[in-house]
């Protein structure tokens, strides 16, 4: 038997990230709005990022470009 898709109205706090925080819904809404802005930037950055980019590049560049 097929189940009905979950709607926004039926989604409960337990389905949200970090449900253990018991965040009021208005704070969750604000958090999502803020993160949406940041994620839009991440999407743009990801499109231009070389495939070989690595999290260790940061330390490597700092050391390679050191001007003590």
């Amino acid at each position: 038997m097929a189940t009905a898709p979950e709607s926004a109205a039926t989604k409960t706090a337990a389905d949200e990230p970090a449900s253990y925080l018991d965040m009021p819904s208005e704070r969750r809404t604000l958090a999502k709005a803020h993160v949406a802005t940041l994620s839009a930037t991440a999407a743009k950055v990801a499109l231009a990022l070389p495939i070989g980019a690595d999290v260790d590049d940061f330390r490597r560049v700092l050391a390679a470009e050191a001007k003590p």
Partner: protein, 466 residues
């Protein structure tokens, strides 16, 4: 009689070594001034007067017997209360604290001790070092020694207030998004946020480990140089601590600065309040007098950098608080809790994208922004010094925007990991503020030489309420 409060740590160490003043005398005076500062600014979390005086007595005895106790022998200091000290429980500026006393000193504390320095107090910080204003909804807000209705800046606000007041010559802080630079600017003193990894973070309470940087606040640039030389260097307890050689920063304070090029990103600076833009021009005029040349430069898109640093910081901080958020969520103050909550909503893919892009952005900044310049100048605060009331937003809906405005010019630099020197703007008869000079990776010696020359034109001040 010498005004001990006006001396640098380096000069005070020499006076103690030369027996012109005893460590006990210096420590007593420092404790008295710290108490007075606390009345005005709420800068102390724990005063350790008896312990400090006993240590000062021991230092005097060692000096009298001719033992070399190190370059800071007998000098009273105090630090932000987020560093482990053997047998003690740091407050972290929070209600939540460790269950057990620390088993060993943080590396920064241990290196200070090896240099002979004393610690007279543990100082105020924003709860868990997470906030740039000095507001602390658990322990009470810090107040600015120049004007107690104004913010000290944070999170190292207690250190900045104590240094500005002349209670201590210098102290430790940390900087994840501006926590050394903002309080130094607000209180009219200097700070160095070294290159990420220059100083070990072992034993320092983590906020967002990918960004956390240990550094100092001082009135005299020469103290920043002395202390960086003492604390920098590799540490088996912190794999991120750089193994690059540590220069003799004090010896290089008099490196020539004439002809160095200072980059100005007119677009980014132009987003600050007009008064702040005028302060940048004022500092540029002084640097020009010292022989530095002004040149245009352009950082990568500033808003992109600001978003990328948040994509790193927010989940990094939330993860660092994973245990306490699950077990004691109601013991957080409203502002820190609301900021930690947001970190749970950042998709892991976006967090990793920001981390993967970091090296690319640093390289681009060095290749393009720094192509024709040696250092860059930026404001620290986007606005004139705010009041405590203006920024008393708690954990409410304005928190992201309000805090974002305060760290607009500082947190993107944490993403890039570059070293940054804070210099106070000439104050006239007004309120303090500051600018930051940004250098290439591990170019702290160059920044400090410029700062030393700058202080010949703009000598350090001790805060007196206006």
């Amino acid at each position: 009689m010498t005004d001990l409060a006006a001396l640098s740590a380096r000069a005070l160490a020499k006076a103690i070594r030369d027996k012109k003043v005893s460590s006990v005398e210096a420590t007593r005076e420092s404790i008295d001034r710290l108490r007075a500062c606390h009345e005005l600014t709420h800068c102390i979390i724990t005063l350790e007067a008896d312990e400090a005086l006993a240590a000062a007595k021991a230092a005097d005895a060692a000096i009298a017997s001719g033992k070399d106790q190190g370059p800071l022998a007998g000098v009273p200091l105090a630090h932000k209360d987020m560093f482990d000290r053997k047998g003690k429980i740091p407050s972290w500026g929070a209600k939540i604290r460790a269950d057990k006393p620390a088993r060993e000193d943080a590396t920064a504390i241990a290196r200070y001790k090896s240099a002979g320095a004393l610690q007279i107090a543990a100082l105020h910080l924003t709860e868990f070092a997470y906030g740039p204003t000095g507001h602390n909804y658990v322990l009470g807000h810090a107040r600015n020694p120049w004007d107690p209705t104004r913010i000290t800046g944070g999170s190292s606000g207690g250190t900045a207030a104590s240094v500005a007041y002349g209670a201590i010559p210098a102290g430790l802080g940390s900087d994840t998004g501006g926590s050394l630079r903002v309080p130094a600017a607000c209180c009219g003193v200097t700070s160095i946020k070294p290159t990420w990894g220059r100083i070990s973070r072992a034993g320092a309470r983590p906020l967002a480990p990918q960004l956390d940087t240990v550094g100092f606040i001082a009135r005299h640039v020469e103290d920043l140089a002395l202390m960086l030389g003492i604390l920098a260097g590799p540490d088996p307890r912190d794999p991120s601590a750089s193994t690059l050689p540590v220069p003799d920063y004090v010896a290089r304070l008099d490196d020539p600065v004439q002809g160095l090029r200072v980059g100005v990103d007119a677009k980014v600076v132009g987003e600050a309040h007009a008064d702040v833009q005028a302060m940048v021009e004022q500092v540029l005029a002084i640097l020009g007098k010292l022989g530095l040349k002004r040149a245009p430069c352009a950082f990568p898109d500033w808003q992109t950098l600001d978003h990328l640093v948040q994509l790193v910081q927010l989940p990094d901080a939330a993860a660092a608080h994973g245990a306490y958020l699950r077990t004691r969520p109601d013991d957080y103050g409203p502002q820190v809790r609301s900021r930690l909550e947001v970190g749970h909503y950042i998709p892991a893919v976006d967090h990793l994208t920001a981390l993967r892009a970091r090296g690319t952005y640093v390289q681009r900044t060095l290749d393009e922004t720094f192509k024709g310049i040696d250092i860059a100048i930026l404001p620290i605060l986007a606005d004139p010094l705010p009041t405590i009331a203006e920024l008393d937003v708690g954990g409410g809906p304005k928190v992201q925007a309000a805090m974002g405005r305060v760290v607009k010019y500082t947190r993107p630099i944490n993403y890039l990991g570059l070293p940054t020197l804070t210099l106070p703007v000439p104050r006239g008869k007004g309120l303090p503020n500051g600018i930051q000079l940004i250098g290439r990776p591990f170019a702290e010696a160059q920044l400090l030489a410029i700062g030393q020359a700058y202080q010949r034109e703009v000598p350090p001040e001790i805060a007196r309420p206006l």
